[in-house]
């Protein structure tokens, strides 16, 4: 009984919150263009469902493509950074500079430089997703067990062997932690860039739907789009979490079942 309550408690809290929200909106007669009740949002989700889902598909595609790009380029750069001090000294400051410059401030430039709007969004999302993977992976590559490093030296391992058999596996938990952060950031990047661009080109993403609904004072639709965005973010996080647990299931403390 107690365990059931514990399991259900987040859902119950959510339901209670929604009920209070609906009650407040009705009691105070708040107009829907200020704050729509949850039932109206649900209705908007049903009415505009097909177009919103198409837009979600577009945003999600950009996000996943950016995440894939960030993974490949981020791991490659992390390996390069840890391969030689010289490369690290010369490249790392620029990676940091890219990271600390707010994406909203460079997005307009990128949108001017990259002709295809979808490509421009991809570049923006990639830029924000890239850094956590680089810095976490680089840290992981450097945190290989000292004694194992000695052991590899003792058996005359080449640098490539040490990278493949020791440094990359050591870095895997750190990389996955970075990937979870980057998953959320890629989505944020894709949305922010579309806000700045004001369009996704031939197709439209969820950010444009948000803007559009805002202009037209279709606030329930706006809420519906927001709901989809946040569900997408949660799904990405949960997916990456599951991937991480699966990859580390046999050996890492973070994935060992209790």
């Amino acid at each position: 009984m107690k365990r059931w309550l514990e399991r259900l408690s987040p859902g119950l809290v959510g339901l209670a919150f929604l009920a209070a929200w609906e009650a407040l909106v009705r009691a105070r007669e708040i107009p829907p263009y200020v704050l729509p009740g949850p039932l109206l949002v649900l209705q908007a989700l049903r009415d505009d469902g097909p177009s919103l889902l198409r837009s979600l598909g577009f945003t999600l595609t950009i996000t996943l493509q950016a995440l894939a790009l960030a993974t490949v380029s981020g791991v490659a750069l992390a390996v390069a950074l840890t391969w030689s001090r010289w490369i690290e000294r010369s490249l790392f400051p620029y990676a940091v500079a890219l990271q600390v410059t707010p994406i909203v401030s460079i997005a307009p430039l990128i949108i001017i430089w990259v002709n295809d709007p979808a490509r421009a969004l991809l570049v923006c999302a990639w830029l924000v997703a890239f850094f956590p993977i680089v810095s976490n992976t680089a840290m992981g590559l450097r945190s290989a067990d000292r004694n194992l490093v000695d052991l590899f030296a003792l058996y005359g391992a080449s640098r490539a062997q040490a990278l493949w058999r020791l440094r990359l596996p050591s870095a895997l938990p750190h990389f996955l932690a970075g990937l979870r952060i980057s998953g959320g950031l890629a989505l944020i990047g894709a949305v922010v860039a579309e806000f700045v661009a004001g369009t996704g080109g031939a197709e439209t993403g969820l950010a444009f739907r948000l803007l559009e609904a805002g202009y037209r004072l279709q606030i329930p639709k706006m809420f519906a789009a927001l709901l989809l965005l946040s569900l997408t973010g949660i799904a990405i996080y949960a997916g990456l979490q599951a991937l991480s647990t699966w990859l580390l299931r046999n050996w890492h403390e973070s994935a060992v079942d209790v």
């Binding site: 000695d150 052991l151 003792l154 005359g156 391992a157 058999r165």
Partner: protein
């Protein structure tokens, strides 16, 4: 097997870890290096392994060609790769030497059998007890069939019962022949039971204090630990150790 002449080691920060050490080890010997912490025994072992170079003196190893594969090293911790099974951990030195996986695994299986771990080939390091992890580490060191085995306080972190068992197994592995063992420890009792010779070191900087032969009956048995001869050997070593620490 080993000839050290006036070997010294000074670290970059100026600390002198070892000074003017002379030591010879014949092939087939079981020698313990005994001393308090700070006497440079681990540093000495690392230099013998080739992981560090002496800053003065000469160190010759009687290993033909490159030392790779002729030398096994066991660390204080088991130092296993947590992402690899017992079998793949034991096979690592052979894989690094370029052996194909099936071949390397077959030999790793043999090495695991020698340390009493048959049946655990597919286990992950975190599933094993501390003693079993140390056995995997031993199997890994033995898999290349080395001529020289170096151990750096390998059993210090284990419980007493496990430590005694592993002492017995290590001694039995050595008794199979072909192996020269250099064993670093800070335990008088362990060194007396295991070795044929105990080299006592003095700290700050590490120097040779005494070179003590241990003439106990063969084979070494658990019963030996309560014998008068063993007690006398321990007493003598303890005396040397106290002198070394007072010096």
């Amino acid at each position: 097997m080993l000839r050290l002449r006036g070997v010294g080691k000074r670290f970059r920060n100026g600390t002198e870890a070892l000074a003017g050490l002379d030591l010879e080890v014949e092939a087939g010997e079981f020698v313990s290096l005994l001393g308090p912490s700070g006497c440079g025994k681990s540093t000495l072992l690392r230099m013998v392994a080739g992981l560090d170079a002496p800053t003065s003196g000469t160190l010759e190893r009687g290993l033909a060609g490159g030392a790779t594969g002729q030398l096994g090293f066991v660390f204080q911790d088991a130092t296993l790769m947590p992402w690899a099974t017992t079998l793949d951990n034991a096979a690592l030195p052979l894989r690094l030497a370029g052996l194909a996986a099936p071949n390397a695994r077959a030999r790793a299986r043999d090495a695991l059998r020698r340390v009493g771990l048959q049946g655990f080939e597919g286990a992950w390091p975190r599933e094993l007890s501390g003693g079993m992890r140390m056995r995997v580490s031993l199997a890994r060191a033995l898999v290349t069939e080395p001529r020289l085995l170096l151990l750096d306080e390998p059993f210090a972190a284990l419980d007493e019962i496990t430590r005694l068992r592993l002492n017995e197994d290590l001694r039995a592995l050595w008794a199979e022949g072909g192996l020269t063992v250099l064993f670093v420890t800070h335990s008088v009792f362990e060194s007396a039971w295991l070795s044929n010779r105990v080299v006592v070191l003095r700290p700050r900087p590490g120097r040779l204090h005494a070179d003590v032969p241990i003439a106990l009956p063969e084979p070494r048995t658990p019963e030996l630990r309560t014998s008068a001869g063993y007690n006398a050997a321990c007493r003598a070593l303890s005396a040397h150790l106290s002198e070394a620490m007072a010096a």
